[in-house]
């Protein structure tokens, strides 16, 4: 335990660059180290080294380990939400612009989500695994982002129900539970896809759509599973 090198080499020390740039380098390094070691196990020494600067500079710019971690969370949460938003309201590639039907939107969002988390695995670990287990200042930070996403999914499900103009068979509470489950499944799949199995973002998104959408469809038609 403990002595595993955190992967890539330290940034070659380059002198005298503007603060904004250095700060991003530091955050890059911090996300990597926090992701690989965890909040407590990560040492400011290692982060500074990986960032290619001295420790005092990290403190000068980011004040404390706690604030540094918070800055990581904020940056990565914003990046993830932005990626998903862009996916939903853009079509990832050259696809047709404009907001499609609820299911297409969900599909696009899921693809964007899986793509982003696959591209930045350390960031995803920081958000999903580390931040949420380090108690209050941090868990709350991610919770904000997560609720944003859950709310979005909730609205998609509700819209879908409306589109299917079924009588309001789905109680609000139930919709919330479904959105939770869907987001939870996505989060779980993200870890799985990045880790053990090597599954493309598209595949992961398709699995989830098959799994979830059909089930949602059934529910909306009033067909429930009963014990």
């Amino acid at each position: 335990m403990g002595d595993v090198k955190a992967g890539g080499a330290a940034v070659k020390r380059q002198k005298r660059m503007p603060r904004a740039v250095r700060e991003q380098q530091m955050l890059d390094a911090a996300v990597r180290i926090f992701g690989q070691r965890g909040y407590r196990a990560a040492s400011m020494d290692e982060i500074a080294e990986v960032a290619g600067v001295s420790k005092p500079l990290v403190y000068l710019y980011l004040n404390s380990k706690e604030e540094l971690f918070t800055a990581c969370i904020r940056r990565e949460a914003a990046a993830l939400v932005a990626a998903v938003r862009a996916g939903v309201s853009g079509g990832t590639g050259g696809e047709a612009r404009g907001e499609g039907s609820a299911d297409r939107q969900l599909w696009a969002g899921l693809q964007a989500f899986f793509t982003h988390t696959a591209e930045r695995p350390d960031a995803w670990v920081v958000l999903h695994n580390q931040a949420r287990t380090q108690g209050e200042p941090f868990a709350a930070e991610v919770a904000v982002m997560r609720e944003e996403i859950v709310a979005f999914v909730t609205s998609l499900i509700a819209e879908a129900a409306r589109e299917a103009h079924r009588k309001p068979e789905l109680a609000e509470r139930e919709v919330a539970g479904l959105a939770q489950a869907l987001v939870g499944a996505a989060e779980s799949l993200a870890g799985w896809a990045n880790g053990d199995a090597s599954v493309s973002a598209k595949e992961a998104a398709a699995t989830l759509m098959n799994f979830a959408w059909a089930g949602l469809g059934n529910l909306m038609e009033g067909r429930r599973w009963v014990p």
Copy 2:
């Protein structure tokens, strides 16, 4: 951060009891502290104090922090698996014994799972949140348990497919993905049910069955979601 008391008082110091009993007290304390603080933030001092013994005794019986944590993981993983198994092949309460259809088995297993995690929230946090973020010796330990459960769910899905005697529309890889997603959704719901919302185990299980089973049914009938 940092000064939050870990809840209940330390066990009243009682002298001279058999090793097996002392060990369980220590594991109880350790699970509680590890769950509330995280692996790194938990201190052997606090664990010993909560266990009502001196630190050297903890070392005498459990050798090191690492082994202590591992022992916690093993004990709690075994307990969780046992609880789910008992739920599946027993009917939780006075219900009919014997293995029912695949869906009823899943339903029983989910109920047992949600019940158990609700009863031992610290243990669940240790398994799901802490162990998986502390790098190799530990993540592997939980992975074993998780794979056992995923394998079990996989077999249930496969069996259900067989029961529905559809031609094998579902590739093995696809079944694996579905099981992952289902387990992931369950794990996510467990945290959600214990935490923010206060949802009964039965409710959580029902939500998941509705969500998943219908979707699985559709898939088995070859009805897929296509972009």
Copy 3:
């Protein structure tokens, strides 16, 4: 600056002694180092070394630098007050027991004071110079002791005035100022006697009595200095 060795050698490391004893050793070392270096410049490392123990033990027993310093102040303040009290109400050597006239009491107290501060110069520096310049938690601590002594001297002066059965020529405010000045002069002489000049406690006390008592006498007789 800075590299001057703090005098005597570290206590030869002796293992395994009861906590109370170790604590006194630590306080001894701390008084010495704080006295010689000042609060901020003193390092816990050096204190531990001089005490002949490891740093963690110092923290185990005394919690923090702040508490350690406070403990020093309290111990030395108590010791000084006790010494003066003993001097006043005992006669330092084989002299007659029982409380004498006000002037004899003052004389005895001054002798005890100068003797004690000469015997424990570091302690005196800690109380008089260091503690009072390190801001609130500490200054207050010494102020308590000083007020005790000032109050005592005030009562002696008042008593002397009564003994001389003069009409109350001395306003209370004036008496307070005189006590302040007397104590201040004593404090100043203590530093001077221990430092530059080498003056015996008896000499110092005599100088002060000559200086102060006659002046007080004049005042009581209503003879004031007027511009």
Copy 4:
């Protein structure tokens, strides 16, 4: 501890001013911060900020923390001595010029001393409390000034003895002790007057004259206090 703001706001940053002026600003800031925090606890960062300049400029003009502190001591010592001198040989206000009798000179000097220290409390703290507790380079610096004052007081006492044309009853050693005690009493009163009590300079000076002069008078007449 530690977070107390050092009072007034930083000087509004004004660019490009002559070196001499900037240096005085820096010394002003330094005296304030050294006085309030102590030598070690004062940070060059805070001093630069309060002075309204960047840190490198402080180093450019004053070279090091040590030299900066020394410069403060020198400036304030000179200012204090000058104030006392002016008081003695001038009469504070419109009073008659020319050197009066020894006692009037002392009276004038004391008034000037108490006035000056009351006007610049931080400077007095630097000289009396901080510099003397920071070891050699600094203690010596103040000692020079103090000796100057003690010598002056000594000469006044000797002159007074001559004026009283008594046979030389007072040994030189004794006179020195008396001067020490007098100066010590004055120093002590200065802290007391600025701090807890709010006593005017005139009051403080009068108290001391009453206290000291009469006693000295007695001594000169050969009336001593004997045990």
